[in-house]
């Protein structure tokens, strides 16, 4: 019995440890974001001062709100487009037997391992060529390089597991492939769509390099770039307070999303993601 209690306590200690390590940096960022001036340079474990100046200055100066809007728009459109393209593509990849299928799948996997750096300049040429430089479309377009392979991959594995009979029933009912995808499979794929959509959203929301390169005005930039651009009052000053406030602002929506979809993420991965 004692042994049981010890085991139980040890287990909960472990859990607490894991949780603390996970959230401490974010917690610390939050505390820091409420400090200003020299107080920033003092180490506190508990919130001592509570000032919203950092938030105020982040939100009012510059175009941070606008950037938030950009990020939201771009990430949403990226998710929408990649899901749209990926759903149809993954149907083809998982449900139709044709020659070259495995090769295609492998190619898509290969694309997902491109170093971003390697394609930056070529992408930039394309962006210029299409005349979408410094528009959200440049980012939407370039983000496809990482969201698309990923969504196709996950959705393909997921769709492979959908029962074949349902598809055949639809075929017998006279449904075309398009109808099967949109009206039969799509409604069944919500968990996977939510998971992949969320992951793609996070990836797009967090992207930095392309966002920096393909935009050239405050109005078109996304939040990670905006955070990198946050500056103090003079050249070398790093406005830690503002950065932390901005970081908290960008991260909170994601954390909320993750909290909401926590169960879905796991089940989506279980169903589709990685099945050895």
């Amino acid at each position: 019995m004692l042994w049981h209690v010890i085991k139980r306590t040890a287990f909960y200690l472990l859990v607490v440890g894991i949780v603390v390590v996970s959230i401490f940096p974010f917690y610390y960022a939050i505390i820091t974001s409420f400090k200003s001036g020299t107080a920033l340079f003092q180490i506190d474990y508990w919130p001592k001062t509570f000032s919203l100046t950092n938030y105020n200055s982040v939100l009012t100066t510059g175009s941070f709100v606008r950037n938030l809007g950009n990020s939201l728009f771009i990430a949403s459109v990226v998710v929408a487009i990649s899901l749209l393209l990926a759903v149809t593509a993954s149907f083809a990849l998982s449900r139709v037997r044709f020659s070259g299928r495995s090769l295609l799948l492998f190619t898509i996997l290969a694309v997902s391992m491109f170093p971003q750096i390697a394609v930056l300049s070529g992408l930039f040429e394309l962006v210029r060529f299409f005349g979408i430089f410094n528009t959200p479309f440049a980012l939407i377009f370039s983000y496809m390089i990482f969201t698309l392979p990923f969504t196709v991959w996950v959705l393909t594995t997921f769709m492979r597991d959908l029962p074949i009979e349902i598809e055949e029933a639809a075929i017998v009912d006279g449904a075309s492939s398009w109808v099967i995808v949109t009206r039969v499979f799509l409604p069944l794929m919500w968990p996977a769509l939510v998971t992949t959509g969320l992951l793609a959203f996070i990836a797009a929301w967090n992207e930095f390099l392309f966002a920096l390169t393909f935009t050239s005005s405050n109005e078109t930039r996304t939040v990670p770039v905006a955070i990198a651009l946050l500056s103090g009052n003079s050249q070398f000053e790093i406005p830690w307070g503002n950065i932390m406030a901005a970081s908290v602002i960008v991260t909170v929506p994601l954390v909320v999303l993750v909290l909401i979809f926590q169960r879905k993420i796991i089940s989506g991965l279980t169903a589709g993601g990685v099945k050895g």
């Binding site: 287990f11 859990v15 894991i18 949780v19 390590v21 996970s22 959230i23 940096p25 974010f26 610390y28 820091t32 003092q42 180490i43 393209l85 149809t88 593509a89 149907f91 083809a92 449900r95 044709f98 996997l109 694309v111 391992m113 170093p115 750096i117 390697a118 394609v119 930056l120 300049s121 070529g122 992408l123 394309l126 390089i145 698309l148 392979p149 196709v152 492979r160 075929i171 492939s177 996070i202 929301w205 930095f208 390099l209 990670p224 955070i227 950065i243 970081s247 960008v250 991260t251 954390v255 999303l257 993750v258 909290l259 926590q262 169960r263 993420i265 796991i266 279980t270 990685v274 050895g276």
Partner: protein, 322 residues
């Protein structure tokens, strides 16, 4: 009439209407994705590879001239008869960055796997508040890299960083350490941050694998009287191996490409400079666009080779068992 005719009609080889329709639909479905991928990935990559065989510089991309493998390896014989090798393949800085990357990737992936496994095991257990813990675990992973890099840079600051403060209080160190500056600790710092940030994802993937192990196997083991630790080594581990292998390769590819974290945290430290950072430096900072392209191409090649070798050696099964 029509019946008689169709009776004599030979069976077309192409398969039935259904199959043809489906294959046609498949290609139509694939086309948009393939076009987009070819544009965003294929074309730029080909350009990179092409540039790596030229003498292009950022100021003069159009006038790039084909110079063959010189960016990779060039051999010049001096008048004195001395032979000089030049190029990426003999560049010690490149190899240093390759070594850094490999070292970083191996350590981080191994640590992430071990810790991720632990976390996944904890999350797989039934206990009160599991949902909250699961959500909490995901936070590091949801924080943008650039943000977490800055957060950690702040926490790792030698004077005002809370990490030093904690360690001092715990008596683990006696003087404040400049984590990101010190050649000895810079890599450690980067590793800690990376592990902190990506372990949740790893744990998630492993958890997904764990949940697919049928519960009755554990009951069988219980009846066999197998000690829980033995169960882990002899039953759990072999059974999550496939999921683990896939998770590891995905993380490995990510780690080998690592850029932003190091760029923000310890940009110029030669101990932590990775292949991506090296490539970027040459592409944009130094006037060696072609050389940088060669580095990018090599990076891509190395990734491909590692993946292929890993998949073959590790017998990774991506097809979900079908």
């Amino acid at each position: 009439m029509a019946v008689a005719e169709s009776l004599d009609m030979p069976v077309a080889k192409a398969g039935s209407e259904l199959i043809r329709q489906r294959v046609r639909a498949a290609w139509i479905f694939l086309a948009p994705m393939l076009v987009v991928l070819a544009m965003v990935a294929g074309w730029p990559l080909l350009r990179s590879i092409y540039f790596s065989f030229t003498n292009a510089s950022l100021t003069n991309i159009e006038g790039a001239q084909w110079i063959g493998f010189e960016n990779y390896l060039s051999v010049t014989t001096l008048k004195s008869g001395r032979v000089i090798y030049d190029g990426l393949l003999v560049d010690p800085l490149w190899w240093q960055s390759v070594w850094n990357t490999v070292r970083f990737s191996v350590v981080s992936v191994v640590m992430e796997t071990i810790i991720g496994m632990m976390v996944a095991l904890v999350l797989n257990a039934e206990f009160r508040g599991r949902g909250i813990v699961r959500a909490a675990i995901l936070i590091p992973w949801a924080i943008p890299t650039i943000v977490s890099a800055k957060m950690w840079a702040w926490m790792l600051n030698d004077q005002f960083g809370i990490i030093n403060d904690i360690l001092l209080h715990l008596g683990l160190i006696s003087t404040k350490i400049a984590w990101t500056a010190n050649a000895d600790t810079a890599m450690l710092a980067v590793l800690v941050v990376d592990i902190w940030k990506t372990t949740p994802f790893m744990a998630l993937l492993i958890l997904a694998g764990l949940q697919m192990i049928p519960g009755d196997i554990y009951e069988a083991a219980k009846i066999d009287g197998v000690h829980p630790i033995k169960v882990f080594w002899k039953v759990t581990l072999p059974l999550v191996r496939p999921a683990l292998m896939v998770a590891v390769i995905f993380r490995m590819l990510d780690a080998l490409r690592i850029f932003d974290l190091i760029y923000v945290l310890t940009a110029n430290n030669s101990q932590t400079k990775t292949m991506s950072v090296f490539a970027r430096e040459n592409l944009f900072d130094f006037d060696k666009f072609a050389y940088g392209s060669a580095a990018s191409t090599m990076l891509f090649l190395i990734l491909t080779v590692i993946t292929v070798v890993y998949i073959i050696v590790g017998k990774v099964n991506f097809e979900g068992g079908r």
